[in-house]
Structures are given as C-alpha cells and as structure tokens.
C-alpha cells in the first residue's frame, strides 16, 4: 500500500477530439476502445461461425453474396473445402485473441482496475495507449489476410507446424496468409505485454491509502492474476511467431524437419522440430484458457456478491484458488499433446496436474454455490448472466475430467467433444462473464442504464441457445465425430449429420439473439435512463465516484479505504451495505475470520 500522491500519474484532461477519443491516455477511454474492438471482433467471429455452421448443415447450399467475400473461396456462393478451413481459422483466432482476451481482461480491466484500486490512472499511460493501438493494428493485419490473393491461412487457430511453416506449397493461404497471421499475433502479444505490465504495476504500486491487497475486490484480483499470466504466456508466443515468420521469409527450419516431400518436391528445410511449435504454442495456449476465464471469474464474483447482498464465504480462498489455477496452468499444457508423439511418460506427467487443477476449480464453484446459500439474491440481467456463467463453467469444466486422462483422450482427442468442452468453458462462460460485466458496469461507463427487459430476453435466448449448440457437440465427439472437417463423408459420420443440422439452427437463432444485445447497447448508450452513481448499491470504489467518473477518476480528493471490499448485510446500519470509503465503524457478522 502506498501513498498515491507519490505515484500520481498526472496528465491533464485532453481538449482536442483526437487526444480525447482516439489517441487517449485515459485508461477509461482505452478500456472503451478495447471494448469497441472486441464488439466488432465478436460479430465478425460470430458471422464466420454462421457461415461455417450453414456449410456443415447444408454443404451444397449457396449462401447469397458469399462470392463477394471470396470469388475463389465461394464460386457460385458455395464454400470450397479450403475456404471452410480458412473461415474456421479466422473464427478461432478472432474469438480467442480479439474477444476472449480483449474484452474481459483488457477492456473491463483497463476501465475498472485503476478505479477499484483508487488510482488516477495507470502508471504508464503511453504504454497503455500503445497497447490498444498495437492490438488494433494486429486486428487489421489479421483481417487483411482476407484480401490477399490466396486468402487467410487454413491451418486452424493452433497453426500446427509443419503445415504452417512450409509455405504456400502446403495449401491455399499457407504462404502470405500464415505470415500475416503470425505477424498479427506477434503484434497482439506486444499489446498484451504492455497491458500486463501496466496492470501489475497498477495493482502493486498505485493503490490508494487504506487499500491493502486483501481489500481489493475479486475482479481486481482476477485482473492482477491474469496480467501475471499474460506477461509470461505472451512472452513465449511472441518469439514463437517470430520463428514461424523466419521459417517463411528467411529460409530457417525451426519447425520443419528434413526430407519432407510435398507435391513431389523435397522441401529445402532440414533439422527443425515439428513438436517444438506445439510445445511453444501450448505453453502459451493453456494459460491462455485461464487468461480468458479468470477475469470472468472475478467479474462474476463481483457481480454475484453485489446481487447476493453478502460477501463470498471466503474472499481469501477464492483469491488463492484463482492463483492456484494460474500456477497450475503452466504445468498442464501437455494434455493437448497426449497423442502428439511426445514421450508417453510425459503424458502421465501432464495428466496428473491436469486432474489436480480440478481441485481449485471445484473450490471456486463450491464457494460460489455455498455463498448463494442464505443470500438475498437479486435477479437482474447482470446476475442472470453471472449465474449462467456458473452453470456454463460447471458444464464445460466437468468434461475436462475426460480430457485430462490420456487413455480416454485416445478416443476424444480432435473430436467435437473437445470443441464442446472448450466452447463451453472458455467461450460461452467467458462471454457470459463479459455480458454480466456489461450489464453491471454499463451505467458507470456511460452514465446510462441498459434496458433490463431486453437484457433478460437476451439472457434467456442465449442461455438456452448456448446449451442447444454446445451440449450436442459432446455427443458428436463421443460418437467419434472428428473436428475440422468441412463435410462428413465417412460412413460412420453420415448418421450424425442431422445433429449438425440441429446445431446449425440453434447457432443461427442464438446468434440472432445477440442482435438484441447490440441494439440494447447502442440504444441505451444514447437513450438509456440516466444512471445514478451507485445504481446496484455496491461497495467498491467504482461506486463511490461520479457516474461516469471524471478524467482523474475521483475529482479533487483521492479516496481513503476503511473496509474490506464487500461489506454487505451489516446489522444496525441504515443500509444493508457500507462502502469501502465510509469511515463509520462497523461490525460485519459475515466478515471472514
């Protein structure tokens, strides 16, 4: 804990449009910029998934206008096999990097972390501005690959070598498409590294008077833990991307072994290791799962507590459990590689920590459930999405039991079971965290309330729809339906096509429901009812400042913190909550010993 005056980040309120809304140093504007980028990205990603799902359900169906996206990829508006893979790769890449990493961590974290710790801004505002703009450039570079001659890469978001490293001889998009992909992700990593540095320093060095680490809200803890993971995980992915680009443009052979023959030609590479890419990628890739979901855990805990009108059964246990997830996430990455050809003893070594990671996950879920017991739960769009997150996290997490075991992975690896698992646990659950955060913090971010009826309608359609899409994925996987196929021509897969048709209909309906959210978001931004400073009767620092917060967050006087973050259910007080900034002496019967 430090006196913030010693570390204050003084940059005066900007006056020009450019410095206020475009190249802003204000963490709140940068947070909104990240949110806007994620919003564009999520609709692009969802649109791609619609195209894929239509193709999987009705492969010969001509999607009107599809040839406008790619003449060669969709002649006569019918998708070619390679174009399906290209759309699939872009869907995965956009969703994982530019939505699931960007929205819950970079968007909400940027806006609220400095406020929740009681700071004027982040310690390195120029780095912060740069982190957003390089992320924006990364997105443009990725999208640019749609417009190069062979289109984007078709190698999947995991970009396994050597397919990703051999150049255009490997297939359409495997030349320039891969280079643009690797450049985009490499640039994205720079943005995340800069962002993580800021988040860590903000948490450790920018807290206001009285704000001890244990007085930080769970959302702030989640962003802090995520930033530590981000700093270490993206620091590995970035050089991996550079090595991949070098294999394309500099004649190196990091990921290509000797004597590979494609189209009758022996490739001019030698001595590389194809498994090296998998190790580097998954060393990043598994922590990335937690980079996507831990902020959601923090946001959902924060939203649930405010709406349960009680603190969690244990603040500390939740923090330690999220920390345990972060540490273990580096020890489990090999479970993606059980059948990759790595030493089978390694598979067992990676299997045990993967099974062990279910313990902190189970503790987090049990603390959420145990805290619901005896609470005074308020139902609104934010709490519905937070509770939906818990349900989705349970459903998606439990299938991890299967995939943690190499013997069962023999049957489920690379099937739709895996697709269902990760979509539920890091896709849908994380999206529910984003929605919960949006409905909860929108008033503070914009000064206006979102429509509750529309929010609830959005929730119902999304909750039921997501289960209709992703539960059947598990059944398909159990029946050995291999993923990343653009058509199901194998004898044993043909009977499964009706299930794919059902999923396609569910995906189209659930996707359409997201337009309700988009309408609510845009309409409320301009026409929503004015929000008060503390519409949900919260206790943490974001609710003790104006709505929306002023340029330096707290006006002339920096806040002083007197209490733990969640003082609800206070007997004898005039309200059932006491804000962190309230100097009144209280005795909280629910306080953790």
């Amino acid at each position: 804990m430090h006196d913030v005056s010693a570390h204050a980040v003084h940059h005066g309120a900007p006056t020009s449009f450019i410095r206020k809304h475009v190249f802003s140093l204000d963490h709140k504007v940068i947070g909104k910029q990240y949110y806007a980028l994620a919003l564009v990205a999520v609709f692009v990603g969802m649109f791609l998934s619609w195209l894929m799902r239509i193709h999987l359900g009705w492969g010969s169906f001509a999607i009107p206008g599809l040839h406008l996206l790619s003449k060669t990829g969709a002649p006569g508006d019918v998708m070619t096999p390679e174009y399906y893979l290209q759309l699939m790769t872009m869907h995965g890449t956009i969703m994982v990097f530019f939505v699931l990493t960007t929205a819950p961590f970079a968007a909400f974290g940027n806006f609220f972390l400095p406020i929740q710790v009681g700071a004027e801004d982040m310690p390195f505002p120029h780095f912060n501005m740069m982190s957003f703009w390089v992320t924006f450039v990364a997105f443009l570079v990725l999208v640019a690959s749609f417009f190069v001659p062979e289109g984007p890469t078709l190698g999947g978001w995991t970009q396994y070598a050597p397919l990703s490293a051999v150049g255009s001889v490997g297939g359409p998009g495997q030349g320039l498409g891969v280079v643009l992909w690797a450049a985009s992700i490499g640039i994205f990593c720079i943005g995340q590294l800069l962002g993580s540095l800021n988040f860590i320093t903000t948490t450790l060095d920018m807290r206001t008077r009285g704000m001890s680490l244990m007085r930080l809200p769970l959302s702030a803890w989640a962003w802090f833990i995520t930033s530590v993971m981000g700093l270490t995980a993206f620091a590995v992915l970035m050089p991996a991307c550079i090595l991949l680009i070098l294999d394309h443009v500099a004649g190196t052979s990091f990921f290509v072994s000797s004597n590979e023959v494609i189209n009758g030609q022996i490739l001019p590479h030698s001595g590389g290791s194809t498994l090296l890419w998998q190790h580097l990628f998954w060393f990043f890739g598994h922590p990335e799962v937690y980079i996507a979901i831990v902020p959601g855990m923090g946001i959902v805990s924060h939203v649930l507590i405010t709406n349960m009108r009680r603190p969690m059964l244990s603040h500390k246990v939740l923090i330690y459990s999220m920390g345990a997830l972060a540490v273990l996430s580096y020890m489990v990455y090999g479970h993606h590689m059980f059948v990759s050809g790595m030493n089978p003893v390694s598979s067992l070594a990676f299997s045990f920590p993967t099974l062990v990671i279910t313990i902190p996950s189970a503790i987090i879920v049990l603390i959420w459930l145990g805290s619901l017991y005896g609470s005074k739960l308020r139902i609104n769009a934010a709490s519905l999405f937070a509770l939906g997150f818990v349900s989705m996290f349970i459903s998606g997490g439990i299938s991890g039991f299967f995939l943690a075991q190499p013997s069962i992975d023999i049957m489920l690896h690379a099937t739709y079971f895996v697709v269902g698992h990760f979509h539920l646990v890091m896709g849908v659950a994380a999206m529910f965290g984003i929605f919960a955060g949006t409905y909860f913090w929108f008033p503070k971010m914009t000064g206006r309330m979102m429509s509750e009826p529309l929010g609830k309608l959005h929730f119902w359609l999304t909750f039921v729809g997501a289960y209709c899409i992703f539960m059947p994925f598990h059944y398909l996987g159990i029946a050995s339906n291999v993923r990343r196929y653009q058509a199901f021509t194998d004898d044993y897969l043909i009977p499964l096509i009706p299930v794919h048709k059902f999923i396609t209909v569910a995906a189209l309906c659930t996707g359409a429901a997201q337009l309700i959210f988009l309408y609510n978001l845009i309409h409320s931004r301009f026409k929503g009812a004015p929000a008060t400073d503390n519409p949900w009767e919260g206790t943490s620092l974001e609710w003790s400042t104006a709505t929306p917060p002023p340029h330096n967050n707290f006006g002339d006087t920096m806040p002083v913190v007197y209490h733990d973050p969640y003082q609800y259910g206070i007997e004898g007080a005039s309200t059932d909550f006491v804000m962190q900034t309230s100097p009144e002496q209280i005795k909280n019967p629910n306080e953790e010993k």
Partner: protein
C-alpha cells in the same frame, strides 16, 4: 423469474444427461484387446462426472429458487461449515476422485503405450501424406527396404520411395492403399509422415496416434473382430483433410494369406 430459471437449469441438466444414459450416441463398438480398459475408464469417468454435473447444477438451481427475492427483513445466513468445510469437501471428494481416475487411467494408458510389442508381432508400415494413407508389408523376408525420399513418385505409384532395383530388402515389399490384417494377431504399426502432420484414428480399434514429420513412431494393437473399419485423419493437414481416409479390413488368417498373395502379385 428466479424459479423459472431454476427449473430451466434442472431441465437442461436432466435433458443433457438423457442421451448419455440412453446411449443415443455412443462410442463405436470396441474391437481391440486393449480397448476394454479404456472403455471401463471412460464409463467410470462418465459416472463420476455425471454425478458431479447433475449435483452441481441441481444445487445451483435449488439455491436460486430458495434464496432469490427474499422477503424484507430476511437476514443473511451462512452455510454450516463455511468455506473451510467446502475446501475440505473439495479436497476429499474431488481429490479422491481425480486420484482414482489418475491411477486407473494411468494403468489403461500404460497398457497401450508402455508394453513393447510382442517379438512375433506383424510389422506393417504406414505412410501419411496429403491426403492419403499408404501401407507397406515387408514380404517373405520380413524386412522393409530403406526409403529414398528423392524417389517418391506418385505417378509411378512409388509412394514410399523404395528402390526395388538396388535394395534387396525392398524387392518383396508390398505396397497397398488399404490395410488388411489378420484377426487376433498383434500388429506393430510403424508410422511416418511424408509431408505435414497427420493422424491415424480407428475409433473401433481404440487407437489414435499422430504422425510427426521427422519422427518415426510406432504403436501396436490386436484386432479381435473381423470386419471393415474406417481409418480417418484427425490432424488438420490441409484442404483435403476431411477426405483423407482408408479402410482397415480385419480378416481371418486364411483370408489375409490370400489377400497378401494377391497384393504381392499386383506389385
């Protein structure tokens, strides 16, 4: 609304479990000697995961039903046992569950990967390439000739790059586009990729193994049921990935002997 939400969660949880209980979509029937251990492990995991799934979802629904929108004046109550009780429960229940799954799962894994192939296992070589599998049998001498990548020529059907003119061991090698094996005979499958990553997956055989360019890998298995099964590629290998497949025919020893003779005559 909370009560409708609670009921919805329960309906979804039960609805999700029905196809599993009813075996609407199930793993294909096992035809291998090592498969029963994997299947047993899968069933045990499904039981434990299924109970955890249903219990957690029902508990979530029950608490939403019971504790939402309380009457004014209702006081907050705390779960008996508090967080300490839950942490202990997680360690004991989930800990013992994962320990059991881990130990028994390791046994199933070891049965596939740690035991070496029998000395008399029948060797078959498989080569994966965009977008086809090819198989090579060593012929009467029991030896595979060396591979010369510079002699790979698909137009001349020299898929493996073997040199029957100069390599004595290659002269009797038999190359096929489909795989046939005798029933109840252990097979030692020697795997290599010619170009990019691929995978060998025969669901009925309970075998899935990636091909890694630059690495010679091998697996071994015994098929116990005569029939024709599909070999599919599960590692994204390019635009024709979905269509990369071959057939595995498990035959009686007599049928196999005839088949291999026919294939030798075609070389």
């Amino acid at each position: 609304m909370a009560k409708i939400f609670a009921v919805t969660i329960i309906l979804i949880a039960i609805g999700s479990a029905i196809p599993i209980v009813m075996h609407t979509w199930d793993m294909p029937q096992d035809i291998s000697t090592h498969g029963p251990l994997i299947d047993e492990q899968y069933k045990d995991t499904m039981l434990e995961a299924g109970i955890s799934f249903l219990a957690s979802q029902i508990l979530l629904a029950f608490f939403i039903w019971k504790f939402s929108d309380p009457k004014p004046g209702t006081k907050i109550k705390s779960l008996p046992g508090g967080a300490a009780g839950l942490v202990i429960a997680a360690f004991v229940l989930v800990g013992s569950e994962v320990l059991a799954l881990g130990v028994f799962g390791a046994k199933a894994w070891a049965s596939v990967y740690f035991a070496p192939p029998a000395a008399n296992a029948m060797p078959v070589q498989i080569q994966a390439g965009q977008f086809a599998f090819y198989f090579r049998y060593p012929g009467p001498d029991g030896k595979f000739g060396p591979i010369h990548v510079d002699q790979i020529n698909e137009a001349n059907a020299n898929f493996f790059g073997i040199d029957t003119t100069h390599d004595q061991d290659s002269k009797d090698d038999i190359v096929t586009a489909e795989m046939a094996i005798p029933v109840d005979r252990e097979i030692h499958l020697l795997m290599h990729s010619k170009d990019v990553g691929h995978s060998f997956f025969v669901p009925e055989l309970r075998v899935q193994q990636d091909f890694v360019p630059g690495l010679d890998l091998s697996i071994h298995f015994t098929a116990t049921k005569i029939g024709k099964y599909e070999i599919v590629c599960t590692q994204l290998c390019g635009l024709g990935h979905y269509n990369m497949k071959a057939y595995l025919e498990v035959m009686s020893q007599e049928d196999y002997d005839n088949w291999i003779k026919q294939q030798a005559a075609l070389q």
